[in-house]
């Protein structure tokens, strides 16, 4: 049972709050918001019609907490810059859910110029990812009816469940000598699949299209 939250309303152009107690809710009103979110505890962010632009000041949304759920609805994330996961980065064990969001490509030197996760549980529903999505380490993710315009890279022991939607880039898997990423595909249209022949991942399920492996 979710607590009843009274969201903090933020007008476009207004400063984002410096910090908030756990289980807070924020409503970003439609329009352009400048800033980035560094999240260490449960938070709900509603932002239908709103854009959050980090303007190169770190990942636009960085989920670093180990507990709780970050939930983002209807927001457009852009302008992020991070070593991994420019506009949405997950490196804590917390859960992250994004619904109806558009996540643009930013600048990420080590992969995932749109989304990157080392840990945590990431769930995207009905989202558009306009760049690369990279899962590594022990990240778990589920993409339901999402469109990923760039590559979708799985490394190390990451796991992914794809349900519907499409991956317009390459679904690219590579493990190590001690573990392998796993991907379950349920009716997702895949443009291309690359599974490293020496250190392959495990791909299961049925794609809506059958790319050349």
């Amino acid at each position: 049972m979710h607590p009843i939250l009274t969201p903090l309303r933020v007008e476009p152009g207004a400063d984002l709050p410096e910090s908030l107690p756990a289980d807070s809710a924020v409503l970003l009103l439609p329009g352009a918001h400048r800033g980035a979110l560094f999240v260490e505890a449960a938070l709900q962010v509603d932002g239908a019609g709103a854009t959050l632009d980090a303007h190169g000041r770190g990942a636009t949304v960085h989920a670093a907490g180990d507990e709780g759920l970050l939930r983002i609805v209807g927001l457009r994330l852009r302008g992020g810059r991070s070593e991994l996961g420019a506009c949405l980065r997950v490196d804590g064990d917390m859960g992250v859910e994004a619904e109806g969001c558009v996540i643009e490509a930013g600048l990420a030197g080590q992969g995932g110029d749109a989304v990157g996760a080392l840990r945590g549980r990431l769930r995207l529903v009905g989202c558009q990812v306009l760049g690369e999505l990279m899962l590594t380490g022990v990240a778990e993710a589920e993409l339901v009816n999402c469109v990923v315009e760039g590559d979708l890279k799985l490394r190390e022991g990451a796991s992914l469940r794809l349900v519907g939607g499409a991956v317009r880039g390459t679904l690219d898997l590579r493990g190590t000598t001690t573990r392998a990423p796993t991907c379950t595909v349920e009716g997702t249209a895949l443009a291309a699949l690359r599974n490293d022949p020496r250190l392959p991942g495990l791909v299961m399920g049925v794609s809506a299209t059958v790319p050349g492996a």
Partner: protein, 512 residues
């Protein structure tokens, strides 16, 4: 503005308790059936730390780690491959990477598997190669011979499994020229320190800087992770693999002392320098072996993960952009006081100064863009030319990462190009469209390379934190072992760095 939702900021000192190596997380061992690596490589699944591993092995004989537990000799391809020559060739699988070891002499490559087969030529001792197939006591390999990649047969005894090599920049079909050579001595790192590291011709600064950061925080964490076995002449390196929920599982990788070299045979091509301690090169080689090759770790990585894999303790990452300037020095002071390993990464590009470098007229303009340093280059896709008087529409490039040149686009342009490396810009406007003066055209772009020549801060590069200097400056260590940065202020740290991770490295039994 950054909103730091929601809990109070962690200071680096609150990095959490040191986690003892725990058992495998339930999800740490996904199905890996069908993969190329032999099952013996998969590490200590089912074990809980070294004690459990010792119990599993059931024997106290043989070489041990510093904590008394035996080195798991049956794990790791090198040890397994070396014991039974009869089985050795049969184990080689297509795609296995290695080197041809002639023990000081060139290695003969033949067109077929028998001694009567035609001689294709001889390759230098230590030449990297890749297995195509194997039969009996012969192995079919792809190897560089007289500057061409050829497929030929060699004696199985001359093939040694090695981490995969990086590809040549000029021709991806060729492996780069980094022949392996044997490095003897320096078997036990007794006092490792961050300055022992010297990154070579491999893009694994994240790992080298992580080794340096861990060594700075706890020399014992390095020395206790590496064990030399006199009987086999090989090293076993203990890493840790993170499972879900922060559990850490030890992984043991055994490698020999053949290292890739460049130029002189005593000059390691990657981590290490002649006369420097050997441990960084051994640890790097084992890491490459674990992750799938030098080529794999050369693609880059994340310091957060690498420090955890070396120390056995989960790292904590922070977004420098979420820090206030006033928080930076106290953060590093707390990290230093707590003895944490600290890795920091520099952003890959920076905004260049607006400039008016173009000359010319009658619709044709060209110029040399000023860079802050000879290493700096225009970042593809970031160039924009605007006319201060608004007589022509903005022009921009559509290049992508890795492009050497790019075409200029714009509503009023008929042509134009940018040489990203040489920073040379040419523009040609449509007939009847031109600025009033070339000096009206302003150029903006992002650049990569040297972020700050005065402070020697290099872009897209990892550093190990060393110490707070005075009261308000930070000293970092460049894992190259050279081009050391000058101390920087909190403002400069926030301007240049976009990655920051700390790790509470265990101090180890032998730590002071």
């Amino acid at each position: 503005m950054s909103a730091r939702a929601l809990s109070p900021q962690r200071s680096p000192a609150s990095n959490g308790p040191v986690r003892a190596p725990a058992g495998p997380a339930s999800s740490a061992g996904p199905a890996i059936s069908g993969r190329g690596a032999p099952s013996a490589q998969r590490g200590a699944e089912g074990s809980v730390g070294n004690a459990a591993l010792a119990a599993e092995l059931g024997s106290g004989a043989g070489p041990t780690f510093d904590d008394g537990t035996p080195i798991p000799q049956h794990r790791g391809p090198e040890v397994t491959a070396g014991f039974d020559p009869a089985n050795r060739a049969a184990r080689f699988e297509a795609g296995e990477k290695g080197a041809l070891i002639g023990k000081g002499t060139d290695v003969l490559v033949r067109s077929g598997q028998t001694s009567r087969s035609r001689e294709l030529g001889r390759v230098p001792d230590g030449t990297p190669c890749e297995v195509i197939s194997s039969k009996g006591a012969a192995v079919q390999v792809r190897v560089r011979l007289n500057n061409k990649m050829v497929v030929g047969w060699v004696e199985a005894a001359s093939f040694s499994v090695q981490p995969g090599m990086i590809k040549s920049d000029e021709d991806p079909a060729l492996t780069a020229d980094f022949p392996f050579a044997f490095f003897g001595g320096d078997h036990d790192p007794t006092a490792p320190k961050g300055t022992d590291t010297a990154q070579g011709a491999l893009g694994d600064c994240f790992f080298i800087a992580s080794m340096a950061a861990v060594a700075n925080a706890s020399p014992a964490a390095i020395s206790e992770a590496i064990t030399y076995d006199k009987a086999t002449g090989k090293y076993t390196v203990r890493f840790y693999e993170e499972g879900r929920g922060g559990s850490m599982k030890p992984v043991y990788i055994t490698v020999d002392a053949y290292l890739p070299t460049s130029g002189a045979r005593n000059d390691p091509a990657f981590a290490g320098e002649p006369g420097q301690p050997l441990w960084p090169a051994i640890m790097e080689k084992a890491y490459a072996q674990w992750k799938g090759g030098y080529d794999v770790i050369g693609e880059g990585g994340v310091g957060d993960t690498a420090m955890a894999e070396i120390s056995g303790v989960r790292s904590r990452s922070k977004n420098p952009a979420s820090m206030k300037e006033s928080e930076v020095i106290p953060y590093f002071e707390a990290a230093q006081k707590s003895g944490l390993a600290v890795y920091a990464g520099v952003r890959n590009t920076s905004q260049g100064a607006v400039q008016q470098p173009l000359t010319g007229g009658s619709g044709k303009y060209s110029g040399q863009l000023r860079q802050n340093h000879a290493w700096s280059e225009v970042e593809p896709g970031t160039l924009r030319v605007t006319d201060g008087k608004g007589r022509v529409q903005p022009a921009y490039d559509e290049g992508e990462e890795g492009d050497k040149t790019g075409a200029m686009k714009g509503k009023d342009l008929s042509g134009g190009s940018i040489d990203y490396k040489g920073s040379r810009l040419d523009l040609q406007y449509r007939s009847g469209k031109q600025p009033e003066s070339a000096s009206d055209l302003s150029v903006q772009f992002e650049f990569h390379g040297m972020m700050d020549p005065a402070k020697v801060i290099i872009g897209n590069h990892g550093y190990a934190f060393e110490r707070v200097v005075g009261k308000d400056q930070l000293q970092f260590y460049n894992p190259w072992g050279s081009y050391q940065p000058k101390p920087i202020t909190a403002a400069e740290f926030l301007r240049y760095f976009d990655a920051l991770s700390t790790n509470a490295v265990p101090k180890g039994k032998t730590s002071a």
